[in-house]
Symmetry: C2
Subunit: 123 residues, 2 copies
């Protein structure tokens, strides 16, 4: 196993902030606004923090059965060097970013902190 694969286990633990929007019948989610306005602004604000490592923004496609709905319709994953760094990066902009959510969805996101235990990237 390469060193990258073990990164979460030895020297530095990475924190993943997971923001999932559960698939909800009748709910509204404007991907155009989310992808062209909300997330670019969020990334602009948060990625300047020195603890920022990466972010992905994802669109749920399906469950394992073809054409089955995904459990969550959208997701955003921020990786920071620690929970403290994320909180420090986010808090000054919490009001703006949370206030902007009504422009693209009425789904309450499910937010949690994870620790990355194994990571492997193709060479």
């Amino acid at each position: 196993m390469g060193s990258k694969e073990k990164r979460g286990l030895d020297n530095k633990t990475m924190t993943k902030v997971s923001i999932l929007y559960p698939h909800t019948r009748g709910a509204r989610f404007d991907f155009d606004y989310y992808l062209s306005k909300h997330m670019p602004r969020s990334i602009e604000l948060l990625s300047t923090h020195p603890g920022f490592r990466s972010v992905t923004v994802e669109q749920g496609v399906s469950g394992t059965e073809p054409d089955s709905p995904p459990a969550y319709v959208a997701a955003c994953f921020y990786t920071f060097d620690s929970v403290e760094s994320f909180v420090a990066a986010f808090m000054p902009h919490a009001q703006e970013l949370q206030g902007d959510m009504r422009h693209y969805t009425d789904i309450a996101p499910q937010i949690q902190f994870n620790e990355i235990r194994i990571e492997k990237v193709s060479r």
Copy 2:
């Protein structure tokens, strides 16, 4: 910022396979086995496929309130260049990997396919 120019690291649409283990009262999850046996074996088998891009294995720490339980206790995210590549990489080993699950958990994972729409990595 158009989402297209940010797709993946190389302007190709990337597929994320998300395998979440929901936090379940009274359920069993053996992280030692999962991190030292199951996932290393899974990564060994799947990462040889040319469509493999990356994988992370994560441990849920908390919700947004301190000491609140995370919605999912563990997660594995495989990034491949397409759903088809993932399926081709996984199917030959489905029986072994799925059969191994009982060694670390009795939680039924929530599996879905996502499309990565925005990705940004710290430089």
